[in-house]
C-alpha cells in the first residue's frame, strides 16, 4: 500500500487537517489562488492599475473641494472666478476619470474572479470523475456538492474581495491618512481615530459571522432534511397519522436554526452601530478642534472642509477592512479544502506505461484473489479466489448475502484493485492496462440503476453516444424494453423523470441492461440486475442474448436460482471463497449448500404440486 493510497482512503480527515490551517498553509493557499488568478494576466494587471487610478482620483476630489472653498474666501474676486471655473472643470474631469476607472476596476476584477472560478470548476469536475470508487464510498455526495459549490465559490472570489480590495484600501487609507497627517498632524490623528475602532469591530464581526454562517448552514440542512424526508415519505407520515409528530420534529430543527439566525442579527447590529458612532464622534472632534483652529486663524475653512470630506470618503474603505480580513480567512479555509481535494491522487489510475487491452482468446482469469474494501482493510471479502472463464461461457455466481458475489464483479473493470493475487484477461494483468480499454471491454449492469434526467435515447447511448439509431433500438429490443418505449408518446425522446420515477423498477433494470449491451462488451456482467424483472421477461432477455453469448464471457450474479440455471458453470460463494462449483445438475447431485438453497427456493412450488 503506497502513501498515496492511504491519502485517498482518508479524504475527510485530510480535509479536516486542511481546515486547521497554519499560517504557512494559509499563505500557500492564498498564493495558489493568486497564481490561478494570474492565468488571465492582462485582466489581472488592468484591474490593479484601474484600482490605483480610481483610488487616486477619489483622493483628489476632497482636495479640489477644499480648494474651491478657499477660493471663495479669497479677496480678489476677479481672479477667483476664473480659478473657481478651473477647479469646477477639474472636479468634473476627475469624477469622470474616477467613474471610468472604477468601472474597469470592478469589471476586470469580476472577470478574473469568474475566470478563476471556471478554471477551478473544470478541475473539480474532472477530479470528481477521476477519483475511484473507494474514495466515493468514503464521502457523502452532499459534502462533495457543498465543497464544489460553496467552498469553491468562496475561494474563487479571492481576487476582487482580497487582492484588489487590499490595493484599494492601502491606497485610500494609507495615502488618505498620510495626506491628512501632513496637512495637520494633530487634527489628522483625530480624524483618523475612528480607523482602528472601525477596523477592529468590522473584522471581529465579519469573522464571527463567518463562523456562525457555517453552523447556521449545518442547522438549516438539518431542517431541510426533516422537510425533505417528510415530503419524500409523506405516505408513511399519512399512514401513521404522524403529522403532529412531524411538526414537532420540524419545530425543534426550526427553533435551533432561528436561534442562530437571531444571534447573527445581534452580531451584525452590535458592530455596525459602534462603527457608525465612532466615525461620527471623530467627525465631531475634528469639527470642534478644527473649528477652534479656524477661529484662531490657524487654519482655513477650506482645509476644514477638506478634512471633513476626506473623512466621509474614508468611512467606506475603513468599514471594508473587515471584509478584507474575512476574504483572507475565507479563501484560506475554503481554498485549502478545495485544494486538498484537487490534490488527491486516485487510487486507481493508469500505471506508467500502461498498454491497451489486446483481446485474443478472451480468457478471464482470477488467480488466488484476495480483497478487502479500502475503508475496512481488516475485513477480508474475498480470499484466495481462483477461476477461469473462456469466451462463450456463461458463469453463474450465487451465495448468501455478504459472500462477495457483487464484489467479485467490481474487480473485473477495476472499480477496486485486488489486495492479493491477480485478475488477468488473456494473460494481461488488468492493472497494467489502460482503464479506457479495459472498461470498454467490460460492462457491468449494476444493482442500482442510475438513469440521467435526459431522453431515454441519451440514456441508452450513454456508453456509446455515437451509436446509430438501429443499434440502440436493437439493444433495447434485446433487453425487452423496446416495446414499452415505443408505446410512449414521445418514444425514445421521452425525458426520464426526476430519479427515473416514471419507470418501474423492472423497466429501469431493463434500461440498464440495454445500455450495457450497446457497446457489445467482451465481458458482460449482470450484478443482480434482474431482481425486479419478472421471470418471463427475464427468460425472453436470456433468449435474445444467446446470439451474442458465443463471442463473450457472461457472468451472472444473482440470488434467484432461476436467473442462472442455464449457466455453463455455477460458482457457489460463501465468505469470500468458492465452496462448490459445477453445472446445475452437478451441483444438485453434490447434495450440498447449492442443493439446500434450491430446495428452499422451490419449496413453495413443490407443496403446490408443481
Amino acid at each position: 500500500m503506497t502513501a498515496l493510497d492511504t491519502f485517498e482512503r482518508r479524504p475527510l480527515e485530510v480535509m479536516a487537517i486542511a481546515d486547521a490551517h497554519t499560517w504557512r498553509g494559509g499563505l500557500k493557499t492564498l498564493w495558489r489562488m493568486t497564481v490561478i488568478a494570474w492565468a488571465t494576466p492582462w485582466q489581472f494587471t488592468f484591474a490593479i492599475v484601474a484600482t490605483l487610478i480610481s483610488a487616486s482620483m477619489q483622493l483628489i476630489i476632497p482636495r479640489l473641494l477644499g480648494r474651491a472653498i478657499d477660493q471663495t474666501q479669497s479677496l480678489a474676486s476677479a481672479n477667483s472666478q476664473g480659478a473657481l471655473l478651473t477647479t469646477a472643470l477639474l472636479i468634473l474631469l476627475v469624477s469622470f476619470i474616477r467613474g471610468v476607472f472604477t468601472t474597469f476596476q470592478n469589471y476586470y476584477s469580476e472577470a478574473v474572479n469568474h475566470h478563476s472560478g471556471e478554471h477551478l470548476r473544470r478541475l473539480y469536475y474532472r477530479q470528481v470523475q477521476r477519483l475511484s470508487f473507494g474514495f466515493h464510498d468514503s464521502v457523502h455526495s452532499g459534502d462533495l456538492i457543498t465543497l464544489g459549490l460553496l467552498d469553491l465559490d468562496g475561494a474563487r472570489q479571492f481576487f476582487s474581495t482580497g487582492l484588489v480590495r487590499l490595493v484599494l484600501l492601502t491606497v485610500l487609507i494609507g495615502f488618505g491618512g498620510a495626506m491628512l497627517l501632513r496637512i495637520d498632524l494633530v487634527l489628522g490623528l483625530m480624524a483618523l481615530s475612528f480607523v482602528p475602532v472601525v477596523g477592529w469591530f468590522s473584522s471581529v464581526s465579519q469573522l464571527k459571522l463567518r463562523l456562525t454562517w457555517r453552523s447556521l448552514q449545518d442547522r438549516m440542512s438539518v431542517l431541510s432534511r426533516v422537510m425533505e424526508e417528510n415530503l419524500g415519505g409523506i405516505r408513511v407520515v399519512r399512514a401513521f397519522t404522524a403529522g403532529t409528530h412531524e411538526l414537532g420534529k420540524f419545530d425543534i430543527a426550526s427553533a435551533s436554526a432561528l436561534e442562530l439566525a437571531h444571534e447573527r442579527v445581534d452580531i451584525r447590529v452590535q458592530s455596525t452601530g459602534i462603527m457608525t458612532f465612532s466615525f461620527l464622534a471623530a467627525m465631531g472632534l475634528v469639527l470642534w478642534v478644527g473649528g477652534t483652529k479656524v477661529m484662531g486663524g490657524g487654519m482655513t475653512v477650506g482645509t476644514l472642509t477638506a478634512f471633513l470630506t476626506f473623512m466621509t470618503i474614508l468611512q467606506m474603505p475603513v468599514r471594508q477592512l473587515g471584509l478584507l480580513v474575512n476574504s483572507f480567512a475565507r479563501t484560506s479555509t475554503c481554498g485549502a479544502r478545495v485544494f486538498a481535494f484537487l490534490d488527491l491522487d486516485p487510487a486507481i489510475a493508469d500505471a506508467p506505461g500502461a498498454r491497451d487491452l489486446a483481446l485474443t482468446r478472451c480468457e478471464l482469469r482470477f488467480d488466488n484473489v484476495d480483497f478487502a474494501y479500502p475503508n475496512a482493510p481488516q475485513t477480508a471479502v474475498l480470499r484466495g479466489l481462483s477461476f477461469i472463464a473462456q469466451r462463450g461461457e456463461t458463469i453463474g455466481i450465487i451465495g448468501p448475502p455478504g459472500s462477495g458475489k457483487s464484489t467479485l464483479s467490481h474487480l473485473i473493470p477495476r472499480f477496486y484493485d485486488v489486495t492479493g493475487g491477480s485478475v488477468t484477461i488473456d494473460g494481461q494483468d488488468i492493472r497494467t492496462l489502460t482503464l479506457t480499454s479495459l472498461r470498454r471491454a467490460v460492462s457491468v449492469v449494476a444493482q442500482d440503476v442510475f438513469l440521467f434526467t435526459t431522453s431515454l435515447e441519451n440514456n441508452l447511448a450513454y456508453g456509446e453516444p455515437r451509436a446509430p439509431e438501429p443499434q440502440i433500438h436493437q439493444s433495447s429490443a434485446d433487453a425487452q424494453i423496446h416495446s414499452h418505449i415505443a408505446s410512449l408518446k414521445s418514444g425514445y425522446r421521452t425525458v426520464v423523470g426526476e430519479r427515473g420515477s416514471s419507470l418501474s423498477g423492472g423497466q429501469r433494470q431493463r434500461m440498464a441492461i440495454a445500455r450495457s449491451l450497446l457497446p457489445d462488451p467482451a465481458i458482460l456482467i449482470f450484478d443482480d440486475s434482474t431482481a425486479a424483472v419478472d421471470a418471463n421477461t427475464e427468460a425472453r432477455i436470456r433468449t435474445a442474448l444467446t446470439k451474442g453469448v458465443a463471442h463473450r464471457v457472461t457472468l451472472i450474479v444473482a440470488h434467484r436460482l432461476n436467473s442462472l440455471l442455464h449457466a455453463d458453470r455455477i460458482l457457489f460463494l460463501d465468505q469470500g471463497r468458492i465452496i462448490e462449483q459445477g453445472s446445475h445438475a452437478e451441483l444438485l447431485a453434490l447434495n450440498g449448500r447449492y442443493r439446500a438453497l434450491y430446495d428452499l427456493q422451490t419449496n413453495g412450488a413443490d407443496r403446490e404440486g408443481l
Binding site: S77, N106, A446, T453, D534, Q601
Partner: protein, 623 residues
C-alpha cells in the same frame, strides 16, 4: 425553460451532417421558475401581511427608528454648516455657537446610534421570525393537503419553495424597512437643498432626470443579463451535482472525457453570461460618478460666485457638497430594492400557491372519535377517481370480516393501491362508502381512524435517526422493551444487534446502509408497534435473497395474527395463505374467492398463476 430543453436536445441531434449523431448531454433540463414578478400585487401583500401582523409592533417601531435615523443623518451636515457659518466664520465671537452646535451634534449622533441599533436588531429578528412562521405554515399545510397533490408535485420543487422562496421573502422584509428610510433620505436631501438655496438646489437637482432616463433603458437589459447568468450558473451546478451522484455509472461506462468536454461547454456558456452581467452591472457607474462631479462642479462655480458675492454663506456651500455626495446612495439602493421587490412578489406568489392548495379531506364538524374497532372493513359500491371523470375504481364491493386476511391481486393499474388508500381516507370516494369498524370513514375523525390502521408500504421508508426511533416512530409511548420485543418476534433482532450501536445505530439517508429485506423488516416492526386492529400492506416486488425472504414471510404471518389484513399481494405464498383473494381488473372486481376456488374457476387469476409470474405486478401486456 421547457423549450430550452427541446433546442438543447435538437442541437445534439443536428451536429455535423454525415458525422454520427452524438447523443449526450450533462446535467438535466430543469424547468426554471420565474425570477421576477409584478412590483406590487395587493393580494400577495395582503396574504404575506397576515404573517407580519403578529410582529406589527416591531415593524412600526423599526419604521419609527428608521425615520429618526434618517433625520439624524440629514441633520448632521446641517449642524456642521451651522457650526461653520454661525460659529467658525465669525472668529472667536462664534465660540458659543460652535459649542452649542457640538452639544447638539453629540445628542444627534447618540440618537443616530440608538435608532440604528433598534431598527436593525428589531427588524432583523422580526424578519427572521416572519419567515420561519411562513415556512412552518406551509409545512403544516402540506401535512394536510390531498395526497394526489403530493403525488403530482416533485419534492425538489416543494423544497425550493420552502427554502429559496421563503429566503427571498426575508430579503424583502429586511430591506423594505430600509427603503422607507431611503425614500425619506432622498426627499429630505432634496427638501434641505431647496430650503438652503432654492436656485442652487434646482440647478443641482437638474442632473437627476438624466440618471433616471438612463436607468429606465438599463434596467430591462441588466435584468435579462442577470437572469441568463443565473440560469447558466444553475445549469453548471446541476451538471456538477449529476456528475457526483452518477460517478459510478460515468466511470463504468467510460464517459469521463466526453462528459468533461460537455461540462466545459456549460462552463464556457456561463462565463460568457457572467461577464455580460458584470459589464451591465458596471455600465452606469461612470454616469453616476460623472453626474456627481457635474453637480459638484455646478455648486463650485455657481455657489462659489454667490459666496464671493456674499449672497451665500460658505457653510451652505459645504453642506451642498456633502449632500451631493450622499445623494446617489438612496437612488442606487432603491433601484436594488425594486428588483428585490419583484423577486419577492414572484416568490410570494409561489408561497401562496402552496398555502392555497385546497384541503379536500377534512373532519366533519360532528365527526366522532372511533373507539378501537373490531377491525372489519367494508367496501360498499365504491367508485373513485382522482379526476371524477376518470374512474379508477368502479362499483367495488367486498367485505373483510374482523381478523381475516384479504389479498388484492391484479395487473398494474387495476386500482389495488387506490382501493387501499381509501381505507385510510387519503382520498374521499366519488360514490358509495367505505366502512371501518362499521362506521363510514367520513363520519369519524381522521386521528381516530389513523389509530385503527397500520400500513406497510411497498418501498420501506426510513427516517434519519436511530433504529429505535424508526420503529417507534410516532407511537411515542412505546418503551424500549416493547420495541425490542417487536423486533425479536419478527426476526429482526439479530441483524439489528449486529449493527455498530445496535438499536441506537443512526441510519443514514433513507436507511441506505441496510439491505432491502432489512428495511422491510424494520417497517414491519414499526407497524407491529403501532398495534392497530387493521393492517394494510403493499407487498414489495423486488426479490430478496431466500433466507431473508423466509424471515419476512414468517414475520408477515406474525404481523397478521389477530388483525384484519388487507394485502396487495405479489407473492404466491402470501396469496395462498389469504382467507380470500379479490382479483381486480381495470377498477372492477372480476373474481373473488380462495386460492383453490379461483384456480378452479379458470379465469384471470388462474391464468396469472399458471404463467408463474414472480410478481403479479410487473405483468405487462403481451406483445
Amino acid at each position: 425553460m421547457n423549450d430550452q430543453s427541446a433546442t438543447d436536445y435538437q442541437s445534439d441531434r443536428q451536429s455535423a451532417p454525415g458525422a454520427p449523431t452524438l447523443r449526450a448531454v450533462v446535467g438535466s433540463h430543469r424547468i426554471e421558475e420565474e425570477m421576477f414578478g409584478k412590483v406590487y400585487d395587493p393580494h400577495i401583500i395582503r396574504r404575506i401581511g397576515a404573517f407580519v401582523k403578529p410582529y406589527r409592533r416591531q415593524f412600526i417601531l423599526s419604521v419609527a427608528a428608521v425615520l429618526v435615523f434618517t433625520l439624524t443623518q440629514l441633520a448632521i451636515p446641517m449642524i456642521i454648516r451651522h457650526a461653520i457659518d454661525k460659529g467658525v466664520m465669525l472668529g472667536p465671537a462664534g465660540m458659543n455657537v460652535l459649542q452649542t452646535s457640538l452639544i447638539i451634534y453629540a445628542v444627534v449622533i447618540v440618537l443616530n446610534y440608538g435608532a440604528s441599533h433598534v431598527q436593525e436588531s428589531v427588524v432583523g429578528r422580526a424578519a427572521e421570525n416572519v419567515l420561519f412562521d411562513i415556512r412552518r405554515a406551509m409545512f403544516a399545510h402540506l401535512q394536510r393537503v390531498s395526497l394526489s397533490f403530493m403525488d403530482k408535485t416533485e419534492v425538489g420543487r416543494l423544497m425550493s419553495r420552502l427554502q429559496g422562496d421563503v429566503g427571498s421573502m426575508q430579503e424583502f422584509l429586511e430591506t423594505s424597512v430600509i427603503s422607507v428610510g431611503d425614500i425619506v433620505l432622498l426627499f429630505g436631501i432634496i427638501t434641505i437643498m431647496l430650503y438652503l438655496d432654492a436656485g442652487l438646489g434646482l440647478i443641482t437637482l437638474a442632473v437627476l432626470p438624466i440618471l433616471f432616463i438612463a436607468r429606465i433603458f438599463w434596467l430591462p437589459l441588466a435584468r435579462d443579463a442577470f437572469i441568463k447568468a443565473h440560469e447558466t450558473n444553475s445549469a453548471v451546478n446541476g451538471a456538477l451535482a449529476e456528475g457526483i451522484h452518477a460517478v459510478r455509472t460515468v466511470q463504468a461506462m467510460g464517459r469521463e472525457r466526453l462528459n468533461a468536454q460537455l461540462y466545459d461547454g456549460k462552463v464556457q456558456a456561463n462565463l460568457v453570461n457572467q461577464l455580460r452581467g458584470a459589464r451591465l452591472a458596471q455600465a452606469l457607474v461612470p454616469l453616476v460618478d460623472t453626474l456627481t462631479g457635474l453637480a459638484m462642479a455646478l455648486v463650485v462655480v455657481l455657489g462659489g460666485q454667490m459666496v464671493l458675492g456674499k449672497q451665500l454663506e460658505v457653510g451652505v456651500m459645504v453642506a451642498f457638497l456633502f449632500y451631493i455626495q450622499r445623494f446617489f446612495d438612496p437612488i442606487r439602493s432603491l433601484t436594488i430594492q425594486y428588483s428585490v421587490m419583484q423577486r419577492a412578489m414572484a416568490s410570494g406568489q409561489r408561497l401562496i400557491e402552496v398555502l392555497d392548495v385546497a384541503i379536500t379531506v377534512q373532519d366533519k364538524p360532528d365527526a366522532i372519535d372511533l373507539p378501537r374497532s373490531d377491525g372489519s372493513v367494508v367496501f360498499d359500491h365504491v367508485s373513485f377517481g382522482y379526476d371524477p371523470r376518470q374512474l379508477v375504481l368502479k362499483d367495488l364491493s367486498f367485505t373483510v370480516p374482523p381478523g381475516q386476511t384479504v389479498a388484492l391481486v391484479g395487473p398494474t393499474g387495476s386500482g389495488k393501491s387506490s382501493a387501499m388508500s381509501l381505507i385510510h381516507r387519503f382520498y374521499d370516494v366519488t360514490d358509495g362508502r367505505v366502512l371501518v369498524g362499521g362506521q363510514d370513514v367520513r363520519d369519524v375523525t381522521q386521528a381516530s381512524l389513523g389509530r385503527q390502521i397500520a400500513m406497510v408500504l411497498q418501498e420501506p421508508f426510513l427516517f434519519t435517526g436511530t433504529v429505535l426511533e424508526n420503529i417507534r416512530y410516532n407511537k411515542t409511548g412505546a418503551t424500549r422493551g416493547q420495541i425490542i420485543a417487536a423486533a425479536t418476534v419478527l426476526g429482526a433482532d439479530p441483524f439489528i444487534r449486529a449493527l455498530p450501536q445496535g438499536y441506537d445505530t443512526v441510519l443514514g439517508e433513507r436507511g441506505g446502509s441496510l439491505s432491502t429485506g432489512q428495511r422491510q423488516l424494520l417497517s414491519f416492526a414499526r407497524a407491529l408497534v403501532a398495534d392497530a386492529p387493521i393492517l394494510v400492506l403493499d407487498e414489495a416486488t423486488a426479490s430478496i435473497d431466500s433466507a431473508t425472504e423466509q424471515v419476512i414471510q414468517r414475520a408477515l404471518t406474525i404481523l397478521l395474527n389477530g388483525r384484519t389484513g388487507l394485502v396487495i399481494a405479489h407473492r404466491l405464498a402470501t396469496v395462498r395463505h389469504a382467507d380470500k383473494i379479490v382479483v381486480l381488473q381495470a377498477g372492477r372486481l372480476v373474481e373473488s374467492g380462495t386460492h383453490a376456488e379461483l384456480v378452479a374457476m379458470n379465469g384471470l387469476y388462474a391464468g396469472l398463476y399458471r404463467a408463474n409470474y414472480a410478481s403479479f405486478d410487473d405483468v405487462e401486456k403481451q406483445p
